[in-house]
């Protein structure tokens, strides 16, 4: 068992060293030519507006919570699966009860609509039709050129 974890440790150390060496190498080899556009948020074909720090939809949190509960259930399933063959029908019924109780919870959140992904209403904002964005794009291009 310990030797298996030894290879995991080796893997972790190798991964860390690999990343460090590569970052160091690129640091040594790169040319440096910084200008402001390089620092802008990468958006494919769009000019980024505002910060990337936005408030997340609460839905992510609910789904993550439900996921966490069932992940803990999975943790109990692993040792059960290992001994299932030895204990047979008894262990099977036990796990049926265990999973059954948790299925009540799943049915609850399902019926209450917590699993629904509520989409915000799409309202076309007048911002999109303004020409300021185009102008600012031209400005940035000019500032790069000068």
């Amino acid at each position: 068992m310990l030797s298996n974890f030894g290879s995991i440790l080796f893997f972790l150390i190798f991964g860390a060293v690999f990343v460090c060496v590569n970052i160091l190498l690129s640091r040594l080899l790169q040319t440096r030519n910084p200008y402001p556009v390089k620092l802008s948020v990468y958006e494919c074909g769009e000019l980024p507006e505002g910060n990337s720090w936005i408030q997340f939809n609460i839905r992510f949190y609910v789904i993550a919570l439900i996921f966490l509960i069932f992940e803990v259930e999975i943790v109990f399933l692993f040792p059960w699966a290992v001994v299932f063959k030895d204990l047979g029908m008894f262990a099977f019924v036990e796990m049926l009860i265990f999973v059954g109780i948790l299925l009540v919870g799943l049915a609850y959140v399902w019926a209450k609509g917590d699993l629904e992904w509520d989409k915000p209403e799409q309202v076309p904002s007048p911002e999109l039709y303004r020409t300021d964005n185009v102008n600012s794009a031209v400005k940035i291009t000019e500032s790069v050129a000068s």
Partner: protein, 165 residues
């Protein structure tokens, strides 16, 4: 004192755990704190491995790193006032906090020195999952089933609190 490879790995893991815990506590940026916590969890998982608790170590990575940390990050990102301010922590209520911390430290230290730790000496590194499964299905059957009730309560409570209306 004879320092073996085992001891070296233990001290490395302890250093990783404590160092990243210190980063977590002292960092001004909540996201950096969360990343520090990630390494703390990994370090604790490594110490579990050295204690021959392989199942607990894997569960530590699976649940704490894979679940709870993500939940924490979501919690940070869900914060209402996240836009246009630096996500920082600051020191508040210095005196009451130090009193509480010193109190907890005294209690823990007392437990630490008065407990008869009864060290096992040497232990063998066999996989523990089979043993845990057998005990769960026989001796600890009732706690096992009660755990599912607890999880059910947590699930319903969490869904209820997080609901918008």
């Amino acid at each position: 004192m004879n320092i073996t490879l085992f001891d070296t790995i233990f001290y490395l893991l302890a250093f990783l755990t404590l160092g990243s815990a210190a980063i977590m506590v002292f960092s001004k940026n909540v996201i950096y704190s969360a990343v520090g916590l990630l390494f703390t969890f990994f370090g604790v998982a490594g110490i579990y491995v050295l204690l021959a608790a392989d199942f607990v170590a894997v569960v530590q990575v699976l649940v704490y790193v894979g679940g709870i940390l993500i939940l924490l990050l979501f919690g940070v990102m869900l914060s209402n006032k996240i836009t246009n301010i630096e996500i920082t922590t600051e020191t508040l209520h210095f005196l009451p906090a130090s009193l509480v911390v010193i109190g907890i430290f005294v209690v823990l230290y007392r437990v630490f020195i008065t407990t008869d730790w009864n060290p096992v000496g040497s232990y063998n590194f066999d996989p523990t999952t089979h043993e845990i499964g057998t005990l769960l299905m026989t001796d600890y059957l009732i706690p096992f089933e009660i755990a599912s009730i607890l999880l059910l309560g947590a699930l319903i409570g969490a869904a209820y609190i997080a609901r918008k209306d």
